[in-house]
Symmetry: C3
Subunit: 350 residues, 3 copies
């Protein structure tokens, strides 16, 4: 597919500067831009690349003003990164999508399959499942008994959705995701061993949720583990039983939320964050990388870091002092000695 | 299925308070309890829910005394959570279990399969494997060459057990678990690259072990990686080569144990704990979330936190001071200045 | 297979001490060594085992001198661990390897498959893939559209390689690895929700790379995520979109590298390390367990630990003082009080 700069400017409702007839047929990063490709500039840190880029067409933010000549045609838009996303999505949708059910899939007779669905080889769809329209189920997925899947859902290869779980519309789960594995619940028996607490609840995932490769979401002991609409979860993340994640919360890779914790909406977790169990986390909470949260957070829209989590500004200042601790300890012991000497001296002189 | 309060009290050997004829057919959380459901109250923190709960029947600990009227019938037991577990397990066992070997599975001719086994579609069972009685192998599992699996084992969808590994009776592995992947062993060659050390050992897992979704247990270089009986491992946990985990140790999500470390019995790991390689960890050691352990632990039954791990009581006190570090540093420098002034003054006056 | 001590000494070009005719047919750990097995001693910490070991033949480093009698025949080599690796590799290669394409695999007609390849049951090889010679693809692997795989590659069970990714020669990926899942890229839309940025790039993995079980490598938004030759990655590791990992870098379990970061060559990551996004990490950087790196590192060959990462020597000293913080705080407040008293006294006396 090939588009002119003018066609793209019209599609994005952007303002065009330069040759409107230039044609592009692929995307590129600005520092790797080649003739015939469209690139973008969003982060001012990378502004210098625009003067050398060979890309034919570059999307920029409306407030961008070049300091010197730019070879490429520019399109100014409100948000260059979002405009790129819109274009990429548009192009992705133009691509052919497979439909039909592979003869190599195992579909239970009682399963209800919607229209315009693709089911790949070696997929298992178990009894009493319901699968909506326009769903794509890639190879090696396992859809357990009684699962309900909304429309427009995309399951990449090897996704496992265990029995009774409910998936909303337009969700995307990447390769190896596990939804509805048993929660980690054991009661001590008194002799050091543990008795398993059967996990008889399920997982409910609302619409527009994306979950990254090999992440795991456990079913509730009783009731439901709930992921609200618009939540975005990265790879290798753990969501434990009976957790609730609020709308539009974003969780980066290798973070984990322990059992029965309720995370508010619009929160942001950086990587390798851990939240303890049975907590309430206020809306809009932000956690820096590797933060550990042992207590509930009541005040919304605050940023934290460290273990135990403290306000990020304090963490930054304290972590600077941390490096000085050996020196500070030495000073303290020196001061202690000096003061003792001074005291003696003053008392002797008195 | 429907049971009366009296039937349940008899089954649990509990004491019944209220209407013995009330019937229940499902479970509920106490705060979501509805008519016809059975709930439980174990943590005194949630006591207030019991006065509003619509659940028809509630299990409580023997020492629970209501402060005001409770609508539900109560059954007092020694341990309400354990009693619930017993009931859930009982109900789970009443449910039909599938048996038989799917025509869509690939079973090697030399495999020995026990009685009353279920093998789902798209399972691979390789040559010279032995699978005990009453085993359930869900879809997409891979059982490698020469693997031995005891009786009563349950493998959820997509579990991979690599060649020569040995699994004891009554183990449960959740979706995506990998047992017997190669240990991470490489020898430097001198030019900056590495030569792989072939990992020719196996993994031995004793009875009653449960392992969570997408966790990984590596085979030994030589000999065996060993998980002792009763161990409970959560999701996304890493057990490296030649590790041994002692009886009834519990390891929460995203924790990892590095190569050749021997963890004692009855230990408890919270989430995201890391233990370095080649260590000995004493029985009954307890590690708070995100603890990192760089050295062996000889004294049993102690609790640790932080990196490097220190006794939890010290960690808590030190982490409180951590927040004050910028202020303390300021005080120290102030004191230093004051003392210098005082010294000068005293020496001048002397 | 059975070899004499003399045959092994010749193969390894080592010096033989003891009975050259003794025969071995298996490997053992030195502390578990039995008659007829070959063991090794590399770490001087384990020297004492050699005097009790029942192993018939033991590889030792050239500088090893026994303090007392050793029953076993010894072979002295430059590096006992590397010599063992060489032997294990030799024996592994003697074992039969399967070839052929299973009738239970699903191979697209347009796929180009090399010679001497093994493809196991329930493998999917999609359209326009190219697979080199001597490749082993175990059960349940999924090879996406347009993927290119070099020669000598070994994919263990359940590996997923998504569309357009390129894998170099002699790579080994362990069970459950995901290559080419979507990067975690979303643009805020202004109403609290996010719009997905389609991830249209790929992953390029050069030769001799090994990746551990259930690890994930995301495709680039535009361009490529790149893993250079000789890189070794352990289990449950996350490599985000547009990352580049330099030659011969080693990354231990549960570590993660965030988006667009460029890691140099010959780096070493211990377990549970996290590197933030958009950074440059100098060649030869070494990160202790649980280190978190928020900023670029320019100086090569330095070792770091802690969060935020600081030079390891400083981290060690500071972490010792950390334990003393409550006591130091008390001393500081005491000193403050004493100085105030002294000041008063001195001023009063003056």
């Amino acid at each position: 597919m090939e588009f002119t700069a003018q066609q793209i400017a019209d599609f994005l409702q952007g303002d065009l500067y330069g040759d409107a007839s230039v044609k592009v047929s692929d995307f590129s990063k600005i520092e790797e831009g080649k003739k015939g490709t469209l690139s973008f500039l969003s982060n001012p840190k990378y502004n210098h690349y625009i003067y050398e880029s060979e890309a034919s067409l570059i999307l920029v933010n409306r407030d961008f003003e070049p300091d010197s000549d730019v070879k490429a045609t520019l399109i100014k838009v409100d948000n260059a990164y979002e405009a790129l996303a819109k274009l990429l999505t548009f192009v992705e949708r133009l691509q052919d999508r497979r439909t039909g059910v592979s003869e190599l899939a195992s579909i239970a007779p009682s399963a209800k399959i919607g229209e315009n669905v693709y089911i790949a080889p070696f997929v298992v769809v178990d009894e009493n499942t319901e699968i909506g329209n326009n769903v794509v189920i890639s190879s090696h997925c396992s859809i357990g008994e009684g699962v309900k899947i909304g429309s427009g859902v995309r399951l990449h290869t090897g996704v496992k959705i265990c029995s009774k779980c409910v998936i909303g519309d337009d969700c995307t789960f990447h390769a190896g995701v596990v939804i509805g594995s048993d929660g980690f619940g054991f009661a001590p028996t008194g002799d050091g061993s543990y008795r398993k607490i059967p996990q008889t609840g399920n997982v409910i995932i609302e619409s527009n949720v994306e979950i990254g490769a090999n992440s795991t979401v456990d079913r509730a002991t009783l009731g439901s583990t709930i992921i609200r609409k618009g939540v975005k979860i990265d790879n290798l993340v753990q969501i434990a039983h009976n957790v609730e994640i609020g709308e539009n919360t974003v969780i980066a890779s290798q973070s984990g939320v322990a059992g029965s914790t309720k995370v508010g909406k619009n929160c942001v977790f950086a990587g390798q964050v851990g939240i303890a169990g049975h907590l309430h986390i206020a809306d809009g909470s932000i956690f820096g990388a590797k933060t550990g949260v042992p207590n509930s957070i009541k005040q919304p829209n605050m940023a934290y870091q460290g273990y135990p989590a403290i306000p990020v500004a304090i963490f930054r200042r304290s972590s600077v002092v941390y490096k000085n601790l050996p020196e500070l300890q030495k000073i303290i012991y020196d001061l202690q000695r000096k003061i003792n000497e001074l005291e003696e001296k003053v008392n002797r002189d008195a």
